[in-house]
Symmetry: none
Subunit: 217 residues, 4 copies
Amino acid sequence: MTEKRRRRVPRQVREQQMIDVAIRVFAKRGYHAASVDEIADLAGVSKPMVYLYLDSKENLFVACVRRESQRLAGAFQQAAREKASPDERLRAGLAAFFGFVHEHRDSWVVLHRQASELSERIAAEVSAARRMVMAEVAGLVRDGIAESPNPARLGEDDADFVAHALVGAADSLTDWLENHPDESPERVTLRLMNMAWVGMRNVLGGEVWASPASAKR
Amino acid sequence: MTEKRRRRVPRQVREQQMIDVAIRVFAKRGYHAASVDEIADLAGVSKPMVYLYLDSKENLFVACVRRESQRLAGAFQQAAREKASPDERLRAGLAAFFGFVHEHRDSWVVLHRQASELSERIAAEVSAARRMVMAEVAGLVRDGIAESPNPARLGEDDADFVAHALVGAADSLTDWLENHPDESPERVTLRLMNMAWVGMRNVLGGEVWASPASAKR
Amino acid sequence: MTEKRRRRVPRQVREQQMIDVAIRVFAKRGYHAASVDEIADLAGVSKPMVYLYLDSKENLFVACVRRESQRLAGAFQQAAREKASPDERLRAGLAAFFGFVHEHRDSWVVLHRQASELSERIAAEVSAARRMVMAEVAGLVRDGIAESPNPARLGEDDADFVAHALVGAADSLTDWLENHPDESPERVTLRLMNMAWVGMRNVLGGEVWASPASAKR
Amino acid sequence: MTEKRRRRVPRQVREQQMIDVAIRVFAKRGYHAASVDEIADLAGVSKPMVYLYLDSKENLFVACVRRESQRLAGAFQQAAREKASPDERLRAGLAAFFGFVHEHRDSWVVLHRQASELSERIAAEVSAARRMVMAEVAGLVRDGIAESPNPARLGEDDADFVAHALVGAADSLTDWLENHPDESPERVTLRLMNMAWVGMRNVLGGEVWASPASAKR
DNA sequence: TATGAATGAGCCTTCATTCAT
DNA sequence: AATGAATGAAGGCTCATTCAT
């Protein structure tokens, strides 16, 4: 145990402390390798407390996933809400996403990278959280497409495609961000917008990529 | 054990069988949840054989990672080698990537998604494999940039940035591919090229994204 | 907790409530599987109350055993007291026994079936209760024997033997009773009296069982 | 662990050793209080061996119940088979029962006294074993009744009633036997036959118990 | 080349019990 | 009179790993 004298703490507070710690530990070790012992220890309580409040390791993990996915979605929506144009909303949403993932690495790891080692129930919960995030992005993309010069050319699936690409890119770029301390989430967002969104607009405008070979024809 | 009569099989063959099975099991269950018992069982041998040939679970996992990362890199290089223009090389490389990841889901999962539940030694190995893949893509991107109208504007880091974005997008799009049986790795590649590469060329050409607001000024 | 608002309740009442519930729970789950948590819950109090009033799980169990064994003995004695002849007393006693065991299954289970999973102290307490019951029956049997035509032929031990047989039979017949809703404790008593007591009288009168083979000689 | 050097022992043997020990421990402590640790220890193996061979505590218990109930039934049937008359068969059966229960106290405890603390699955298994024993006895009783002077007066249920009474009495008398070292299972059987069977025959013959009061009328 | 037998260590979970209010 | 917060201890189960053959 961390050597602080444990004081009596009301349930609601303790519960959040436990989840805080759990996120860190799950992120660091992965679901299976994480031990409830360690979580209890770092939270400054004994193991039975964890079970008293959170019922089981599985449930504890689900609690982490739920809380963080809602936080992420919240950040996302709040950022997007304030903007007027779809372009700006997408940018703000992506920035919020980057910001959250950058600020809360552990949460994102718990939400995203806990691939396959999970029981079906948990996997479902994680999938749901993932889908929620994806849906937010896809919504923004759809709006952006709708305002483009040529909206008819792209449909539901295309928004989804772009959303997947953006989220995947963003996820991967978080690693990149870590190695580039001079960059900020905002700048990364701009770069990504330039790379992806400008491309998209051009595609919507009719320009398509073609191999140089065929281009010469 | 699977009910085949085990015949005496030379070491090299058995070893590969074990790795084949191990990749499947590691992908399905995750590193920790995977049990050597199950791997030995599915490989049709007894556990001591696994230890005799692969020394430890950790080592077995490393063997999986090494073999598959080399296969992926191989596919990548071979695809790129045949093409002349940087554009085409990049497309071919991405297509090879998609093809591999699509064909060998398990391998990719082992290479990529086994996020954090690994010991430091293994994590290092996986990171190395990941960096290798990233370096291949970054190389192609760099070549593409070099041939662009305005190469000076982008540097080493930008290639890396784009590579991260592309690999991340590609990874995420693999999930998308799974839900769209009508699509093929090739078509996804094209879509991604359109979305990302066209954008990049335009950026290189000087066009940048600006919020509609600032655009109006 | 059961959702009643707990009002301040005087100790004596609460204590009995707890024992009431405890008997049910101990009977249903067995000593070890019963949890103080569940008992407190069903009694509508918090766990510390249980410990305040009953000191320990062991003690709580002993309290149950004591109360119920006294109830059983009481029922027994009262039933027997009213009758004049030993025969009638035995019948009335057995009937009381059946009545109690049938009416208070849980109590009987706690008194009788909690075989061996108990600490020495508790086991002793249960044994004592059991012996008390047995002694009551043996007393009645002894009286009956004393009035028989040939009392000298049977002694102390024989009363004990018969008492054991009767109590064992009665216990087992309680199960039988459960599957025969048309029967009543009174009718079962009569049947048992017929089967056992008539036999006894005959034995006392000199008739003994002999294998048919030897009978033919 | 018992300080014998554990030697490699073939599975079949070890399995039986484990069950042997398990019966002792389950009988002594009850299902819940028994710990797999103790069983493994006394069997001279480590806990994982127990799980390797018997899968779970529950399963281990079921294995005990199955093996012993079959042994008991076997003893029963073999004893009864050799005799010609129903009377003799019943006596031999009861004697076998007493003999078994006396010789294998632990087995009988496991079969009979593990009242309620068991999961549904186990309870079912124990019930089945109990019913099997009861059915054997009821069969013998039925045969005896069939040869009685007045078979028509008693039916299916009566055999069952008597069987319950006999088994219950026998069970209870086992305790009595323990305190009377001069007695033997055979003698107890005779006594019980005298007490119960003679009574039954008389009942079948028309004699019934009546309270002395009513008798005098 | 191959395996049946065996275990130390660790993890999830639960329970009886107490402390501070 | 009453309870929410908290824990030491133990138990069931599994796993990576080895030994002897």
